[in-house]
Amino acid sequence: MDLFPRFFSQPHPSTRRRFLKSFGGLGTLALADMLRRDGYAAGPEGSTNADTARLDPLSPHIGHFPGKAKAVIWLFMNGGPSQVDTWDYKPVLQAKDGVKLDNFDNNTGFFTDQVGPLMKSPFAWKRHGQSGTWVSEIFPHLSRHVDDIAFVHSCHTETNNHSPALFQINTGYNRMGYPCVGAWVTYGLGSEARNLPSFVVMYDTLGRGLPKGHAANWSAGFLPGVFQGTALNPKGAPIDNLDPPAGVNARSQKLQLELMRKLNQAHLDTHPEEKELAARIQSYELAYRMQMAAPEAFDVSREPKAVQELYGIDSPRCGHFAKQCLLARRLVERGVRFVQIFSGGMENERSWDGHADIAGNHRQFAGETDQPAAALLADLKSRGMLDETLVIWGGEFGRLPVAQRPQGSAQTGRDHNPHAFTTWFAGGGVKGGAHYGETDEIGHKAAIDKASVNDLHATILHTLGLDHLKLTYRYNGRQFRLTDVAGNVIRPILT
C-alpha cells in the first residue's frame, strides 16, 4: 500500500541524476563521480558533503567501479582465534613442542609473567579439497568448503589487547572514535534494503556479553549516525519501535498517518523549496513499510525445515549462531548491505580468548560456529548469492605459539599475539582455495607477504567496488579514509 504516491514513485532512470541530487546521498565522491561521468561537474569548488549527503544518505549509490560483491557477512570470531590451531598448519611447531623460545619478548602477550615453552596444536590436522588446504579437526563442516575460501595467513595488527585490537580491525584505528568498516561501506554504497536497516550487527544471545569496547565496534564515528550498525536486541523484539504503541492498532495508526500527511503537505506547500521537509514526509512512508517488512525478514521460522536443519537451528550446541547466520542470509537476500555477527561474548572462556585451555576453548567455539558458517556458504552458493556476497571469517588478533603458563602450572592456554592471525574470505569475487601470505615456521609472526589491517580493509572495499583511496570523508579539516594513509588491495586472492 502506498500512502504517499506523490513522493514514492521510483525515479525513472533518465532522472537518476536529479534523483541523486535531490534525495541524496553518497559521499560527494561517488556522486561527483557519477555526475562527472554524466558530463556534469560536482558543483562549486569547496562545497561540502553536507549539502548533498544529508537528505537520504542511505539511498543506494554506485561505487567507484563495478564490484563483485553487493553485500558483506562478517563472521567475527571474537577474542582472537589461534591461527596455529585453526587454519595455519605448522609442522615445525608440532615438532618443537616443549622447546623454550630464546629471545622471546615477554611483553608480546597480555600476561608478561606467564610465558611458557612452544606448545603444539592439540588438534589433528588433515588436508582437504582440491586445494589440499590443511584444516584442524575442529572444523569438520567448513573443511568441506576450503575450495571456496581464500585464506590470508599473514595478517598482523598493532596492539596486544582486545579493545584496541577490536577497534583496529573494525575501524582501522586502535583508538576509539573512528567509523567502522560497515559504516564506511554503507556511507559509500547506501542500502538496497529500504525497508530494513542497512547495517546489522548481531552479538551473543547466550548472555556472555558484548565484545570489549561495546558499540564502538560498530560505530559510525565521525560519519553521520545513520551509518552506524543496528545491533539487534539479543532478546525480545530484534529492533526497537517496530510495533505500534500499546493500545494502537494498525487501522488507527493508518488514520493518524493519513492526517499527518495532509497536514505536512499543506505545510510543505508554504515551504516549496525545502527538500528536507519533503524527505521527512517520505521517511514516514519508509517507516510504515519497515513495520511491515522487518518482522517478516527477521522470522527465520519461515525457512523450510531442511534449511533450518542445514544450519543447525535446533542444535543445542550451535543453534544460537545458526539462527544468526540464517538471519544474515535472509537480510542480505533482502538487500541489507552489511551484516556482522560476533561469535562469543567478552573475554576468556566467554569467547575465543583461550588463555587457560586452548583445546577446550577452541573446540567449544568452533563447535558453536562450524556448522552454521558452513551452512551459510552452502546456502548462499545454492541460491547463487555467494558470488555477490563477501563472507569474512576472523578475529582481532591471533595467539602465541608458546603456552600461557603461570609459574608452576601445567596450563595449556595461549596468550594474545598481534603479530600473526588468519582471516579468510569467501564469495564476493575472491579466489577459492587461495592462500596468501605465510607466517614463520612456528606461526609466531607474519613473515611473507604481510597483510596489515589496512590491507584487509582495502581488499574488502575493493570487492564492493569501492576504492579505498577515494572513499573519503572530510572531518575537522582532514580527509579521512578507512585505511588512513596506507593499505593495499590483496589482489592475489581476487578473481
Binding site: D56, S163, G177, P244, L263, G477, V485
Partner: protein, 1050 residues
Amino acid sequence: MFLRSPVTFLVTLFAVSQAIPLFGQEKPPFKTAPLPADHAQRLERGAQLFDAKVSAVLKENCLNCHGGEKTRSGFDLATREAMLQGGDKGQAVVPFSPPDSRLLRLVRHAEEPFMPGKSKKLAPDAIEALEQWVLLGAPFSKPLVDQKGKSASKKMTVTEKDRDFWSFRPLQPVPVPGSSDPWVRNPIDAFVLAKLKEKGIAPNPPASRAVLARRLSLILTGLPPEPARLKALNADPDALALDRYADELLASLPHAERWARHWLDIARFAESHGYEQDYDRPHAYPYRDWAIQALNRDLPYDRFVQWQIAGDELAPGDTFAFLATGFLGAGVHATQITKNQVEKERYDELDDIIRTIGAGMLGLSINCARCHDHKYDPVPAADYYRLISTFTKTVRSDMELPVEDPEYPQRLAAWEQSQKALAAKLASFDQAQGPQAISQWLAASKKTSALTTGWEILIPEKAASEGGATLTIDPHGKVRSTGKNPGEDAYTVKAQTSVDQVRQIRIEAFADKTLVAGGPGRAANGNFALSNLTVTAFPVKPNPAALYKPVLLKLTQPRATFEQGGLPLAAAIDGDRRSGWAVDPQFGKDHAGAFIVEGAPNYPGGTRLEFVLEFRTNTSHTIGTFRLSASGDTPALPLTGPALPSEAKDLLLGKAIDDAGKAKVTKWLLAQNPERVKLSREVETHDKAKPTPKTIKALVCSEGVPAIRLHTQGGDYLEQTHFLNRGDPNQKGDIAKQGFLQVLVPAGKNETVWQKALPEGARTTGLRSNLARWMVDPAQGGGSLLARVIVNRLWHHHFGRGLVATVNDFGLQGDRPTHPELLDWLAGELIQNGWSLRHIHRLIVGSATWRESSFTDAARMKIDPTNQMLWRFTPRRLEAEAVRDCLLAVSGRLDPTPFGAGSNDPHHRRRSIYFFIKRSQLPADMMVFDAPDTLQIAEARPVTTVAPQALRLLNGKLARDCAESLADRVAAEVKSAPVTDQEPSPTWVNALYERAVGRAPTSSEMELALEFLREQGQALKREGVKDPGKQARTELAHAIIQLNEFLYID
C-alpha cells in the same frame, strides 16, 4: 661539493638513490625500471634538459610546497635523492619510466590530487619537458635548494606569508558599510545587505512576531514559548517587545542549558571512560554544570577558555574555576593498558587534549602535525610536540572541592555555642568531683587490694623482626615498623608488667597517615593480617626455690573493634598460620583486639611477657604501628578503655607522687566516672557533628594530584614529552619544551612573555596557564582566531550554518567566510565588549538578517540556492535534545530541575542535557536524531532524515506518553468549554495548536482535526475501546507533535 664530470656525479647519485631503503612497510613495493643500456647518455641529456627547462618548471610551480618552505605530503623535490624517495603516497618518479611516474599523472590531471594544487594546470610544453626528463632518468645537475645548513631541510618553516592567511591575521578595526536602507536594524545587516546588493538580491522582510517569538525561544532555549507569554507578546504594541523577550530568554537558565549542550559537543563530554570496560565517571557532571553556570553568568569567553585549560592555576582556590578543567579530561581513556602500550596510550591522550583545544577553540586541526608537518596548514610537527608538552603531567583526578556555602558561618556559630555549653557542664563536673577523686579511689582500692584498674600499657624492652623490618619503640609503648616489609614476618616483643596474674591481653593497631589509605597495615592497600599471636609468661622475680617454666598463655574470647569478612580475630589464635585477623576496608582508623587469658600463673612481683606476632596470611600484610597492653582485671575491659597511668600504679604501691602526677591521675579517674563518661560521650557526639563547609566531588585535571587510576601496567603519565618521529613513541627525539603555534606568534616574538614561572614548590607546572595566556592574547597570540571561531559558532547555531561553514576548521582546507568583514567585525565586537557572548547573541537576534522570514522565490533561489548570502532564514530541524525537550515541555511532563548528577533512566523527565552519558550506552532518543558519539570533538551536527526517526516518534514511548499528557493537559486547560466524548471540541483543538505550535489552526486544519476526532472516536468505540474520545484526542495530539512544523525552526 663539486665534481669534475657531471656524468660521474649523476651516476653516483643514481647509485645512492637505489640504495635508499623503504621506509614504511605499508608502502607499495618500490618500483625501479630496468636500467637502459644507454643510461649514461640519457642522464647526460636529461641533465641538460633539467638546466634548460625542468629546473625552472619545478622551482616555479612545485618547490614552494615540496621541498622549499614546506614538504607537503612528505614529498621533497629539493634533491634527486629526496625526490626518488617519494612522499606519503608512495613513489612519485620512477627514472626512465614515465608510465610508472605518478608525478606525471598528477600534472597531466589524469589522477587526483591535480598538481600543482590550487593553481592552473602546467603549460603543455612544461608537461612534455617533465615527461621527457623522466624518460631520461630524471637527473638533477644540482639540488634545487641550496643544501647549506639545510639539515633540517624537510622541516617546515612558518613564513610571513603563512601568517597573512585570513584567519591567522590579528583582528583590525572593520568599518561598517554605510546604509540608509530601512531594512537595516544593526551593523550586521549593513554587512549582509552590502553583499546582497552585489548579487542583486533583496533580503526577506521580517517574519511575523509569532513566528519570531517561536524562533527566538527555540533557538535561545531549546523550548517552545509558553502560550500565555506568546499571547502577551503578540498584544504588546512596543516595537521592541521582541528585543525584551530576547533579553528575558538570554538571562534564563534554559538558555544556558541549551547552549552549554552545544559546547559539550565540542568538549566530547561524556560520563564514562570508554574502551574496554567503559567504567562510569560519576563525578564528571560538575563540569557539565560548570558549563551551564558559566553561560548563565555570561562568563567572559576569554576566561571561559582560560579556565578550562588552567582554572586551578589562574584562579587558585576558586572551585568554580577548577571545575572548568574537567574539559581537559572529558575524552576517552583506555581502562586496560598493557605494558607495551603505555607510552602510545599516553601520547594518544595528549593528542586528544590538543585536538580538542585546536579544533574546538582555534578551529585548527593541530593534531594533523603529530606524524609529520601539517599537510596544509602552517603547523610544523615541532609546534605540535611543544604544545602537547604543556600537559605532560596533567592527569584526571576526582577531587573533593569546597563550594560556595553562604550559610556555613551561621551553622558554625550555632554549633560553637552549644559546644561551649557542653564544655562548661563538663568543667563544672570536674570542679566538683576532682578534688576528692584520688582519696576515694585509694580507699576503695585498698579494700580490694588488687590492681583492678584497667589496661596497663606495656613499654617493651625489646622488639625484633624475623624478616628484617626495623622496629622502634617509643616511650609510650608504641612499636613502629619501618624499612623492609618482607612477604612474611614475625615480630617478637618482650615487656614487663606489674600485674601478678595476667587475665587480659590487648593489641592495638594504629592508623598512620604515611601508610597507604592511612594504614594501619603496611600491605599495598593499607591492610594487615595478624596470622598468629602467642604470649609466653615468665616471673619477674623467679623463686629460686621453686621450679618454674615459661607458660604459654591460653588466649580465649577474642574481641575486636572490626573484623574483615572471613578474617576474624579468632583466626589469630587458631594455630593456623595462614588464617588471620584483618580489617579491610576500615582503613585509616585505629583498631584493637583483646583476649581473656585462662589459667595464667600468678607471679608475685610481676610478670615478664614475650609476644610473638606472625604475619603470614597474605603478602607483606604487617602492622605499621602497634601497642600491647595487659590487665589483671576481670571481667572483660573495654577494647579502647583508658590506660592506667604509671603514677596511679605508684600511688597504689604507696609511692609519693608530685602534683603533676596527681593531676594526671585525677584526670584518669574522672575519665572513668560513669556519669562523666556519659557527659563526655555527649561532647564527643557533638564534636563529630561539627559543621563543615559544603564540598563537591568532581573530576578535574591538574598536576600533582592523585590520578584516577584504572588497569594499567604503567604510570599515570610520562615524565617527559619527546618529539616523536612519525608519531611513534619508539622513535623519540629530543625533549619537547613548551611553545605555541608559530603562525599565531609574530616572527621573532619571544614566547616567554606568556610564560611565567610559578613560585618554588608549586603543585602544578604553570605550563597550562602559559598556554591559556597565549590563547586569549588578541594582539600577538591566539586571541584573534579564538574570537573569530567562537562568534562563528554562535552564528552557526543561530542560522544553521556558520559564516565559515567548517566550524572546526579555519585552516587552508576549511571554507572561506562568506562574509569575512562581518566575521571580523563580530569578533572585534566580542573582544571590545569584554568577551561577552550575550552581547553577540543580542546583536544577532536583534538584526533584520536573523529576523528574515523563510519565504523563498524561484528567482533568488536560482542565484543563491543554499542561501549563502543570507537573503532568507533557512528552516532547520531541531537537534535531538530540543526534540525531546519540546515534547516534554508541551505535554507538561518536563521536570525543570537543574544541575546535579544525571540520569540513565531512558524515561527520566529532566532536560536532555541531564542524561547520564555512558559512552557504550548512549541514549537512543538522542542518537536517532544525530547526537554525537562523544568520542572525539564533534563537527557541526549532521541533520539526517531517516525512517528510524519516524519509527521512534510514531511508536516510541516518549512521544506516545507526551501525546497522552498533552491531550489531557489541554483538556484540563480549556475549562471554558468542557471537553466531552460526544462531540469533538474546537476549543480543545484550538488550544492544542496554541500549545504545540504556537498558533491557532487554520480553518481547513480545524476541519481536518474535527473530522479525525470524529472518525477515530467512532472507530475506537466500535472496537470497544474504553474511553474512545480520550484516545482519539491522544491520537490527534500524537499526530501534531510529529508534524514538520513542530520539529522545525522556521
